[in-house]
Amino acid sequence: VRSCVEPQIEEDYQAVNVDLQTDATLQVDISDALSERDKVKFTVHTKSTLPNFKQNEFSVVRQHEEFIWLHDSFVENEEYAGYIIPPAPPRPDFDASREKLQKLGEGEGSMTKEEFTKMKQELEAEYLAIFKKTVAMHEVFLCRVAAHPVLRKDMNFHVFLEYNQDLSVRGKNKREKMEDFFKNVVKSADGVLVAGVKDVDDFFEHEKTFLLEYHNRVKDASSKSDRMIRSHKSAADDINRIASTLYTLGTQDSTDVCKFFLKVSELFEKTRKIEARVAADEDLKLADLLKYYLRESQAAKDLLYRRGRALVDYENANKALDKARAKNKDVLQAETSQQVCCQKFEKISESAKQELIDFKTRRVAAFRKNLVELAELELKHAKGNLQLLQSCVGVLKGDT
């Protein structure tokens, strides 16, 4: 499956980060993508006037693991401790869709040719939609990096964009995965420890309280929105099947009642397309928005934890310095260590403050754009549905 990346979906994802100006110095997008059996190949296309690139315009092919490698390299880089690291795109997941297509193939014998073709088209459209979404999500990640004043200069980022060979970042082997697992356990234990310490700075104290609660609520809203949209899709599927059966009833004869069934079948065909569109738009404007801010709020929390860690280190260095001075032993060493911790902490605090303010601005703007668009689309579809129903009822009443 090849995607001609639909500009609408790209735009929808750009909307999640509205401050992404088209900056002439560095423009990144995913110009093409190819879905093979178990992997997706993204064509990352760059346009840049920066001197460090060999050309002004170039493309490379990247897979999902390479995006993760890039993201992780940001997270592990101490220099970027004071920034909200743009959340990594989720792994392309076609399992559910593939399973459905397979089930359909197995059940081919039990349905009519029309039903089979119809269902196949539906599932293929679903597959394509998932595909386009994953492309958009990977693109948004790159755009966020490119828009960030510091991250856009990162060496690994430039290699990612320019190096036209495989980066060989093969999936982590078992040992590395175990190490990661333990690192995360330690981090979260740390996180609890750090979160418990009340911050002297009001701004950060407020942010900490806010983010902890907000993140949990976004998580809940995200999962509930998914559930709601799934029910909506199921209902639309039912209407599709009802339309087909009404059609079969309508073609059995040419009596009045059969003609009636045909008209109603046609109506349901059209209304269910609209219903499916409503569910898809809700998915895009609401569910995906919530999912994205779930990931970003986590990234913001991570920033706070890193700052909290640096604060703890700073406080420990202070205590060590006092002890050293009291014993008058290794004072210089303690002083240097304390200064390093102090600088690190202050540097993180400074950039973190700005990052968190920017995060708020982005969030409010993204919610505004998506909620307005959601409302407009709901209205558009409801009006479309209404018109279809009104004209059909008018015709049917006139016939009687």
């Binding site: 806010f210 609660e213 907000y214 609520r217 976004v218 809940d220 809203a221 509930k224 929105s225 559930r227 709601m228 799934r230 029910s231 909506h232 199921s234 209902a235 039912d238 209407i239 099947r241 009802i242 059966t245 009404l246 079969t248 009833l249 059995q252 004869d253 009596t255 009045d256 009642v257 009636f260 069934f261 109603v264 109506l267 209304t271 708020k360 969030r363 409010v364 919610f367 505004r368 909620l371 307005v372 959601l374 409302a375 407009e376 709901e378 209205l379 409801a382 009006k383 549905n385 209404l386 129903l389 009104q390 059909c392 009822v393 049917l396 009443k397 009687t400």
Partner: protein
């Protein structure tokens, strides 16, 4: 029996079933319904009257009508289904949504059933029908018999008929094909009802969740917009719930009714085949009797000959009678099927238009809610 046009054009007849009331307590309790009739038909003594009836009364009516009229080829409308589960909940006093829904569904189904019966010009003539709507006590009330009628069981007719009239064969095939499709459709509509109910519940869950999100959002305008969104979704929960009820009452119930009615149609075809078989059997018997006579003549047994001659006369009469019966029943079945098809067309059109109108109203509501929300979303700064 030529009252169809007369009834429709000259006289009024309106029947409704309302006011379900629980009578008694515990497992002996039952629901009594008010049956109200308003009519200008001369066969009734008053213009308006009401009686109270219970479900078993309607079942009793069906039994009586079926006993009398099915064998003549009439399509006797079947009553609503019994439901031990549904009724037990009501008896036990479980006052929840599902038992209220059950009672309403039953009330509506009984109303449709009774209307079908009285609007059948031949059945209306039956005194039992009149007794059901305007006499106080109906005999046989108070027990539910296990009905084993042709409508309940798909009787496998093993009679192979030499169909002289291809109309009947084609019609039966049509009926069977339609039955299959209606059953399929019913399953799908049930599925839709289920998913809409699910959607309603999930929308409610989402609404609460958005309200929570809004209250923790620290941008004031966004916080307000989110709580407005929560209100919209709350209203949507209600809307989906109502829509599911409409799916069920307007659409699913209609299909269920007609699946049962098609059973009655099949029964009338079966009945015709039975009368054909009886005629054939009589012809065979007549043939045997003639052979017996021939044998006796040949064997020269004059004393038994008179008996044989009497037998032949008897069976000749029977053959004539049964042939007439078969013709009469065939004609009735044919007329009944045509009447049924007309009624079905009218019913489906009416109900489905009603259903579409409910969908229409839903969309109108939807538009109102989102139009109210849009300025709130735009006000986010």
């Amino acid at each position: 029996m030529q009252l169809d046009e007369e009834i429709e054009d000259k006289f009024e007849l309106n029947i409704s079933i309302t006011n379900p009331e629980k009578v008694g307590d515990g497992m002996n309790a039952y629901m009594a319904y008010k049956v109200s009739t308003q009519t200008t038909l001369p066969m009734f003594r008053s213009k308006t009257f009401t009686v109270r009836r219970r479900f078993s009364d309607f079942l009793g009516l069906y039994e009586k009508l079926s006993d009398k009229h099915t064998l003549n080829g009439y399509i006797v409308p079947p009553p609503p289904e019994k439901s031990i589960m549904g009724m037990t909940k009501v008896k036990v006093g479980k006052e929840d949504n599902s038992s209220a829904e059950f009672v309403e569904r039953r009330r509506a189904a009984l109303e449709r059933y009774l209307q079908r019966v009285v609007f059948h010009p031949s059945l209306l003539q039956d005194p039992d029908v009149r007794e059901c709507v305007c006499v106080c006590a109906l005999s046989g009330a108070g027990f539910l018999k296990m009905i084993n009628r042709a409508t309940d069981s798909l009787s496998k007719m093993t009679i192979k008929m030499n169909e002289s009239d291809v109309w009947f064969e084609e019609k039966l095939q049509e009926v069977e094909a339609e039955d299959q499709q209606l059953r399929k459709l019913h399953i799908m509509v049930d599925s839709l009802v289920g998913h809409r109910k699910e959607l309603s519940v999930n929308t409610g869950g989402f609404a609460k969740s958005v309200a929570m999100l809004g209250s923790s959002e620290d941008n004031t305008a966004l916080s307000r917009a989110l709580s407005q969104l929560a209100e919209v979704e709350d209203k949507m929960e209600q809307l989906h719930q109502e829509q599911a009820a409409s799916d069920s009452f307007c659409f699913a119930e209609l299909l269920a009714d007609y699946i049962r009615l098609l059973g009655s149609v099949r029964a009338s075809f079966d009945q015709r085949m039975k009368t054909w078989q009886r005629w054939q059997d009589a012809q065979n018997m007549l043939q045997k009797k003639r052979e017996t006579e021939a044998k006796l003549l040949w064997a020269n047994k004059p004393d038994k000959l008179q008996q044989a001659k009497d037998d032949i006369t008897e069976w000749e009469a029977k053959v004539t009678q049964y042939e007439r019966d078969f013709d009469r029943v065939s004609a009735t079945v044919r007329k009944e099927v045509l009447r049924f098809e007309k009624e079905k067309a009218r019913d489906f059109k009416k109900q489905i238009i009603k259903y579409l109108e409910s969908l229409l109203q839903s969309q109108q509501q939807l538009i109102k809610y989102w139009e109210a929300f849009l300025p709130e979303a735009k006000a986010i700064a």
